[in-house]
């Protein structure tokens, strides 16, 4: 493939600066294949052709005889389909946000949870579960979402106050570390107080795609559209930003404004994703880096492809999570790291240099 990386990987080197049609098609095809696999495979063996017929039957006016029992139909259309859709959305959102954070902070270790989103959402979820004796699936996403936004706002406020005059990316990151540590401490304290709630919180903390119908996907979709749109719209500015603030300013880009907008969008998208899926680690780091290593180092390439491959990766990881140890499930965060880490090492060793 286009894996020709000899020596220095300059943005204008062997890998094109612009997104090629070939990679775009590859991304779309991968996402579609992952979605189809997610729909076809599960703990209950269901004839894939029948499943396909039932999916087509969802289109108004189509009525094909599938030969599936009503229960099998419900499993494909009402259990697997919302789950696959949620996987694509969450994966895309996390990978996109991860790529943006890495670009904004010019730090290869940046991930979507950098500014305290994970800790804030975790605290929100813990409060929701411990405050409510009977676990309420509708309250949790709201609390997690608010917690995540609160954490990022706190990080921003502290980062500004701490720096005095200038809010550099580094002070922001450090403020994020402090906020995350503080909120995690409260979260752990609350969990220790309430052993009944701990299993439910724990299951959420390790990440899972367990939607109750279309509810979660509907919650996430508007945020995904707005936040994803803003992030993708700034892909060129992120490329200019990688030249340095002065250079970017001379090219007519306002570094602080771009940074602010992109970070807000990425945080909002991450908060919404985390609210419905829990804390799924690793996707936001390995997907953008893998894209960077394979397809190209500019954000015009990284961001759109991260969204496509991120969605595909998470859908496949969830497929493994619900089938490998069936009839029980494996926490999704465990699968993403278990599959993702070796794969990422492989890519790292195959492609020689990481250019940020």
């Amino acid at each position: 493939m286009s894996l020709t990386t000899e020596g220095v990987a300059a943005p204008s080197g062997h890998r094109p600066a612009r997104l090629t049609a070939r990679w775009l098609v590859a991304g779309v095809v991968t996402a579609v294949v992952a979605a189809l696999a997610g729909l076809a495979i599960g703990p209950v063996p269901i004839n894939p052709l029948g499943g396909a017929a039932e999916l087509l039957n969802l289109i108004p006016g189509v009525d094909i005889h599938s030969g599936l029992t009503p229960q099998e139909t419900a499993i494909v259309t009402r259990l697997r389909l919302p789950r696959v859709a949620l996987g694509l959305l969450v994966g895309a959102m996390l990978a996109l946000a991860g790529g943006c954070y890495q670009g904004v902070f010019r730090n290869p270790l940046a991930d979507p949870y950098l500014l305290g989103v994970a800790a804030g959402a975790g605290l929100g979820a813990t409060v929701a579960v411990t405050a409510d004796a009977v676990f309420s699936p509708t309250v949790l996403p709201l609390f997690a979402f608010l917690g995540a936004l609160l954490a990022v706002a706190l990080t921003y406020a502290l980062g500004a106050a701490g720096g005095g005059r200038v809010r550099t990316p580094t002070t922001l990151i450090l403020a994020g570390v402090a906020v995350a540590a503080f909120l995690t401490a409260i979260q752990t304290y609350l969990q220790q107080r309430d052993v009944d709630a701990i299993r439910e919180v724990y299951s959420w903390l390790l990440g899972r795609l367990a939607p109750s119908g279309w509810h979660e996907a509907q919650l996430l979709l508007p945020y995904a559209i707005v936040a994803g749109g803003v992030m993708l719209a700034h892909r060129r500015q992120l490329d200019v930003l990688s030249l340095g603030d002065d250079e970017a300013a001379s090219l007519g880009v306002q570094p602080r404004r771009v940074r602010y907008l992109v970070v807000v969008a990425a945080s909002l998208g991450t908060a919404a994703a985390v609210a419905v899926s829990g804390l799924i680690g690793f996707v936001g780091i390995i997907v953008p880096h893998t894209v960077r290593l394979l397809a190209g180092t500019t954000y015009r390439v990284i961001l759109p492809l991260s969204a496509l491959f991120g969605g595909a990766f998470l859908t496949l990881a969830d497929l493994a999570a619900r089938t490998v140890l069936s009839p029980s499930e494996i926490p999704l965060g465990v699968v993403t790291a278990f599959l993702g880490a070796p794969f990422f090492i492989l890519v790292l060793r195959t492609a020689t240099r990481v250019g940020l």
Binding site: P137, E200, S212
Partner: protein, 309 residues
């Protein structure tokens, strides 16, 4: 099978009434041998079953014990991997704490009973039109009896469930009445795990049983902030000097008088000195099914036999 029970019940009731009305048979007791079969549909907590369920899946060890105790065992097709009592339960790999709705649906259940709604499993099962009842752990004895009656009603064994709950109630009352009065109420420490001294306060279900046996919980002061499962320090436990120690970690973590007495400083505790360290059955101690009577019996026995300190 579907229509006869109602007819049968009606006939039986009519007959009993007729007999009682005659008054000529003073020995006629109102309960016939073999309880009358239940009529469906039944509604419990918003869930309506049109027929008696014959493919029940239970995902909670406590509920499994109750279902079998009300004679609904033959209707159960699968229980979760943690259910181990009675010994003949149809155990599967189904998970209590990381459940998958599709895997549960595979057993084609006509009723699913569970105690934890983790990962939206209840909503997902309802999506598949599987009648699902969430019966969380009970916090009082009355709630436990209510849950037994609910399970009896849902499974078509109302009379057996009522009889079971009544029997438990009278057994428990009897056990409590037999607890000897002492000048000073004995104190106890209840241990949940081996190394970190997590305990329970009297606010918990298990804690309330000890209160009924006139025992005083040394963990209560630690639960002042509303934490029903406080973590105590070894220092605090030694200073509190409980008369009795109950171990809910004998099976899981191999704890006994032997191991407890070897902990540094613990040899000075009255309970250890007087060998009043009682290993409870972990399973019984953590469940709220019919065997709570056995748990209370172990507690009252220890309370009665403890030497006056």
């Amino acid at each position: 099978m579907r229509r006869t029970p109602r007819l049968l019940t009606a006939t039986l009731v009519a007959l009993t009434l007729a007999l009682a009305g005659c008054g000529s048979t003073p020995s006629a007791t109102p309960t016939p041998t073999g309880s009358p079969a239940d009529t469906f549909p039944v509604t419990v907590g918003g869930l309506t079953l049109s027929e008696r369920p014959d493919r029940i899946v239970v995902l909670s060890p406590s509920l499994t014990e109750t279902v079998f105790a009300v004679d609904a065992g033959p209707q159960v097709v699968a229980v979760d991997g943690l259910s181990n009592y009675p010994s003949n339960v149809p155990k599967t790999d189904l998970s209590t704490f990381k459940p998958n709705a599709e895997a549960i649906a595979k057993h084609q259940p006509d009723l699913v009973l569970l105690s934890n709604d983790i990962d939206n499993v209840v909503a997902q099962l309802r999506t598949l039109n599987i009648p699902t009842m969430l019966l969380p752990y009970t916090k009082t004895l009355d709630e436990a009896y209510q849950q037994i009656n609910d399970i009896g009603k849902l499974t078509g064994h109302t009379a057996a469930a009522q009889a079971l709950a009544e029997r438990m109630r009278s057994d428990i009352d009897k056990l409590i009445a037999e607890v000897p009065r002492r000048d000073r109420n004995l104190t106890y420490y209840y241990e949940l795990d081996a190394t970190s001294f997590f305990s329970v306060t009297s606010n918990t279900f298990v804690g309330s049983l000890f209160t009924k046996a006139a025992l005083v919980n040394i963990a209560d002061p630690a639960g002042k902030d509303g934490n029903d499962f406080p973590q105590l320090s070894a220092e605090y436990i030694i200073k509190a000097n409980p008369d009795l120690i109950f171990l809910a970690n004998s099976k899981c973590c191999g704890q006994s008088w032997d191991t407890v007495s070897k902990r540094p400083g613990w040899g000075e505790i009255s309970a250890v000195r007087n060998r009043q360290v009682i290993a409870l059955d972990d399973d019984i101690a953590s469940r709220w099914g019919p065997r709570i009577v056995d748990l209370l019996r172990a507690i009252t026995k220890a309370a009665a036999e403890a030497p006056v300190g």
